[in-house]
Amino acid sequence: MTRTGFVIANLWRKKTRTVLTLLSIVTAFLLFGLLQAVNVLFSAGADFIGASRLVTQARVSFTQSLPMRLLPQIESVPGVEHVMWQQWFGAVYQENTQLIFLATDPARLRLVYPEYVMPDAEWKAFEQTRTGIIVGRNLANQHGWKIGQKVPIASNIFPQQDGSKNWTFDLVGIYDGKDEDWQRNTNVGWINFAYFDEANQFGRGLAGTYTIKLADVDQAQGVAQTIDAMFENSPDETKTQTEKDFNIGFIKQIGDIGLIVRWILFAVFFTLLLVVGNTIAQSVRERIPELAILKTLGFKDGSVLGFVLAEAAALCVIGGLLGLAIATPLGVAITRATGGNLPIAVDGRVWLVGGIAILVLSLAVGLLPALRAKRLTIVDALAGR
């Protein structure tokens, strides 16, 4: 037997209690791993590396539409291969099912998003049918839509000329993704912009946001800066960023996600501190005579303190590492499930912060009980005082 073996043996003194405490630590660190990855994501600065597409929005807010007249200027920027625009439709299906529908130019959509796979005939039909829409496979399957049927969709933003917010479109194509990741992303519908622009009551000639396909991914930052510099100090100042950062910014509209995440983490760890701290304290209280015997046998006060701290640390380390280990592939799964739009990477940075959190938690839950064990007097402890 070793001192470590003695610590482990004491951990399993009450198996059910240890397992439940471990599970709570595992859960806490699993949450921590995922939330900290989200926190890193929302706290990180712009990252242009490897970006093949940029999104240009109004600098003030993406809810403010950019005008169509910016298109030729954006197209003229060196490094820009293709440009499309998309206007948020505000789609509501049936009574209250919100859908993602955007109005765009069909030909440009195909050029900027070669990842969308659809037969030529359906692309042509989309171009040629004014009231035509195409939808992703997931979206079509979700609502049982078939090519050729009429799809009634309301817009909570754009009424038609007659004031009605109910629009009816012809489903002329269903697209798939080029691979598994893109297939997961086939939950968007696209409306022929020509019809939308002509038929809506207000907001004509407004592009919404622009999506730029780059000729060279290494030029992403340069192209973004050029575009924004072009419209600086104009009535239509722009903010150009990668598609990924744009999506994150979209989610940030919900609220200061970083702050929310930090508060959640604080609440989780505070609760954990109470739960695990109480467990360790209870365990020490139960073992006062045993700890006194250790001192009787010749173990010094510091050794007894060390045993209790080691038990607390063992619980936190085992639970914490397990939690982070589960969070890591879970983050990958979430990233895949969102088609890369929410890249949850439980990477080295998260593990480092997690490691520090494990250490701090170990000290926080173990120190007071360990000090109590250190300070107990043999005579009083054996006498039950």
């Binding site: 037997m1 070793t2 001192r3 073996g5 003695f6 043996a9 004491n10 399993w12 003194r13 005579p289 045993e290 015997i293 250790l294 001192k295 009787t296 046998l297 010749g298 173990f299 010094k300 006060d301 510091g302 043999i378 005579v379 054996l382």
Partner: protein, 240 residues
């Protein structure tokens, strides 16, 4: 009157207590437990401390065993002034020189018998193999070699006490401190344990100081010391 064996032992004192006083603070009161007590325990002796509850016998035992320090006075064990040792050094001294046996065994419930016995050896520099050997010997001495892998809850009271004695012996201390070692045992088992203590005293030369309420248990010792109100009254020679 001491036996010839006893007279031989007197020449070399294992424990010397001189004018020891011990008081405790309990709330706002100071309670004096020992009043200027002096005694000698020769090397290889087996002494029983008897007295009514509150007489100070357990307090005296704790002081001799280095579990507590006197308020004043001197205590020498094996020639060393233990009353002058600080907490850490006293712990080291205990580990090398004293083995403890308690009324309620005080074994670690999560460890097997052999691991309980091995515990004191974690304080030494012995290798794992050497520790295992020492443990085997100690369990052999107490007659429990075949129960090494059992946990305390799987042992009878007598067996648990034997394991406790093996733990007390494993680092080969010169002095054994026993606080009511048979207090929780039936007569037959108690006699077996006391017989074992006698063997450790007579054949292995251990000096034993035992607190007991039981006159029959005290009869296994060489000498009986009576305490009352913190003072030594008389000593008697037990039947050899």
């Amino acid at each position: 009157m001491l036996s010839p064996h006893g007279r031989q032992l007197m020449s070399e004192a294992m424990v010397q207590v001189r004018n020891v006083q011990k008081s405790y603070v309990r709330g706002k009161q100071t309670v004096e437990v020992l009043h200027g007590l002096s005694l000698d325990i020769p090397k290889g002796d087996f002494v029983a401390l008897m007295g009514p509850s509150g007489s100070g016998k357990t307090t005296l035992l704790n002081l001799i065993g280095g579990l507590d320090s006197p308020t004043s006075g001197e205590i020498r064990v094996g020639g060393e002034r233990i009353d002058q040792l600080s907490g850490g050094r006293l712990a080291e001294w205990r580990a090398r020189n004293v083995g403890f046996v308690f009324q309620f065994y005080n074994l670690m419930p999560v460890l097997t018998a052999e691991r309980n016995v091995e515990l004191p050896l974690l304080l030494t520099k012995l290798s794992a193999a050497q520790r295992r050997k020492s443990v085997a010997i100690a369990l052999e001495v107490v007659g429990l070699a075949d129960r090494a892998r059992h946990k305390p809850k799987e042992l009878s009271g007598g067996q648990e006490q034997r394991v406790a004695i093996a733990r007390a012996l494993v680092s080969d201390p010169a002095l054994l401190i026993c606080d009511e070692p048979t207090g929780d045992l039936d007569r037959k088992t108690a006699d077996e344990i006391l017989g074992l203590l006698q063997v450790l005293n007579r054949e292995h030369g251990k000096t034993i100081v035992m607190v007991t309420h039981d006159p029959k248990a005290a009869g296994f010792a060489n000498r009986i010391l009576h305490l009352e109100k913190g003072q030594l009254l008389e000593q008697a020679t037990a039947a050899a």
